[in-house]
């Protein structure tokens, strides 16, 4: 009868859809496994002490390493943080402690829009601001470009954690006769410190892997950089240069560099997980 046949149809449709959605999940998750598999398989062979400490070998020769690229990335991250972290934290504090509803909505909206600006565009801005006037590529300009990217990220995460600090701590601080700025700077911010650091690490993880903004700011360097005002090597830049080159040995090193880079990025987010502790319910 109609009821029964319709019932079976509905049930099979249900099973089909369930299976499809499981398939989707598998397809979405699998690239991670594929990537990690290849990174490890191709990259591990080139990882040795030389890789971390030596400079790249001259074109065509085997050997050499990415020592300068690794330290370059670390220096760039530090510079980016100098730009991005104070601005982001202060901005997040404004939203949480001072701002009104409407202005806050606006700032959040445009911060989210800013997050969607392609990173290469920030490279162009940093180029115009820091490369052209000084007529040189530099770590400073690279750090500036990365810092631009960090600002909206740190601002949003800082606001989110500051808002979670219970109101009673603010009241207790004010009731002791502390001025508002000290209440914020010496009581509220320290209370939220773990969360703020989490946000900073997340932002650092995001910019550590950025290549495009560095292409014409930091530019890359086959030697050690002696000052921050000259071009500097960075891990993503080196990976890119090696990957598109015609040399097999460089391809191998590109995989190794990629492995190191992904470990750095994952280490930063693991640090986040450690600090975050309690997670939201799935």
């Amino acid at each position: 009868m109609t009821v029964t046949s319709n019932h079976y149809l509905r049930r099979s449709k249900n099973l089909l859809m369930n299976a499809l959605s499981v398939a989707c999940a598998v397809l979405v998750i699998s690239p991670l496994g594929l990537i990690l598999f290849y990174l490890v398989r191709q990259g591990v062979t080139a990882l040795n002490w030389d890789f971390f400490t030596h400079l790249p070998a001259p074109v065509g020769q085997t050997g050499g390493g990415m020592g300068n690229a690794i330290t370059g990335t670390l220096k760039l991250l530090a510079l980016a943080s100098v730009v991005g972290v104070p601005v982001g934290i202060l901005g997040g504090a404004y939203l949480s402690e001072y701002g009104g509803d409407r202005i806050n909505d606006w700032i959040r909206f445009w911060a989210d829009v800013l997050n969607g600006v392609p990173s290469i565009v920030w490279g162009m801005v940093a180029y115009a601001l820091a490369v052209v006037p000084f007529k040189t590529f530099s770590a400073y300009s690279g750090g500036l470009a990365l810092g631009f990217i960090m600002i909206p990220l740190v601002l949003r995460t800082t606001e989110e954690v500051l808002v979670l600090v219970p109101r009673s701590y603010r009241e207790a601080a004010l009731a002791l006769g502390l001025p508002q700025w000290k209440m914020i700077a010496r009581i509220v911010l320290p209370t939220a410190l773990k969360g703020i650091i989490t946000g900073v690490l997340l932002a650092m993880g995001r910019v550590a892997g950025e290549t495009a903004p560095l292409l014409f700011t930091a530019f890359g360097n086959s030697h050690w950089s002696h000052s921050l005002a000259e071009p500097i090597a960075a891990l993503p830049l080196q990976i890119f240069a090696y990957a598109i080159s015609p040399y097999d040995d460089w391809h191998r090193q590109a995989w190794a560099g990629a492995l190191v880079l992904i470990l750095l990025v994952f280490a930063l987010s693991a640090g986040v997980r450690l600090l975050a502790g309690e997670r939201k319910k799935p």
């Binding site: 009241e171 207790a172 601080a173 004010l174 009731a175 002791l176 006769g177 502390l178 000290k182 209370t191």
Partner: protein
């Protein structure tokens, strides 16, 4: 509490009966080191949050070195009242007031008066204890001094012990001063907050239902220390627990629906109230 003849009257609420101040010398003379007898002189205080009125024409005088209790049913304005005394009600957007409050003769809301200075003179302890989570016990007590620039180590140590003794907490924590403040039990945390408030040596200590989140044993400890604070401080305590008010206070003010209904010596309020509403409340007929 006691059986008594109902006071047959339809009088409006009795204006606060200021009996003669406790014998401490004439009111005009200031003996050396002795504080003036009236700590808070409140006249015609009305408080509005936006369009709604929370307090209506409250006039009363809080006397020095006494414990004054504020009682009344929920929503009667007692929390609002106590927060005007240290300018904390200003933190609520849309709050405004009319009338005057004088602390030791000075207008609390005068032009140029900095609320943060007021709050150093009028300390506050809250309903739920809130020691700062990133600070140790010692750091919690001293935070009001340190963050206001006091660096003298000897003074800090002295104040630390003095405040913790006054809060009846010294013996329990003197060996663990470095531990986090939030590691203590609920009652201990509240006493820590009291020590923290006392460390800046305010003139007045305001307590907004300080025991409502505590068990009877912890409550008893705090009531005992309130009794001993009388010698050095003026205490105003808001409480919904009438028996507590009867136990610890010298004078009691009964608020109802934003108005001060009656204010008198505690014994009078509980045994022999002048106002029928007071009588109805203290005998438990509503609340």
């Amino acid at each position: 509490m006691s059986a008594q003849e109902p006071i047959a009257t339809s009088r409006p609420p009795v204006p606060p009966a200021t009996k003669s101040p406790p014998a401490a010398g004439s009111s005009s003379a200031r003996a050396e080191g002795a504080a003036p007898e009236i700590t808070f002189d409140i006249r015609d205080l009305s408080v509005f949050y936006g369009a709604s009125q929370a307090l209506q024409n409250v006039t009363l005088q809080v006397l020095t070195h006494q414990v004054t209790a504020i009682i009344g049913p929920s929503g009667c304005g007692k929390s609002t009242f106590i927060r005007t005394l240290n300018r904390m009600h200003e933190l609520t957007p849309g709050a405004r007031h009319t009338g005057s409050i004088r602390l030791l003769g000075e207008d609390l809301y005068g032009p140029g008066i900095d609320p943060t200075i007021v709050r150093r003179q009028v300390g506050m302890v809250f309903q739920k204890s809130n020691p700062f989570p990133t600070l140790s016990i010692a750091e919690n007590v001293l935070v009001g001094l340190r963050l206001n620039g006091v660096r003298d180590k000897a003074l800090l140590r002295e104040r630390l012990e003095e405040s913790l003794r006054m809060a009846a907490l010294w013996d329990e924590v003197k060996d663990i001063l470095g531990r986090p403040g939030i590691g203590l039990s609920g009652g201990q945390q509240q006493r820590l907050c009291i020590a923290r408030a006392l460390a800046v040596r305010p003139e007045v200590l305001l307590m907004d239902e300080p025991c409502s989140a505590l068990d009877p044993l912890a409550t008893a400890k705090i009531e005992e220390l309130i009794n001993s604070l009388r010698a050095s401080y003026t205490v105003i305590i808001v409480t919904h627990n009438m028996q507590q008010a009867a136990r610890v206070s010298d004078r009691t003010a009964f608020f109802y629906l934003g108005k001060l209904v009656e204010y008198d010596e505690t014994r009078t309020i509980f045994m022999n109230p002048a106002n029928p509403q007071t009588e109805a409340y203290v005998s438990g007929r509503f609340g």
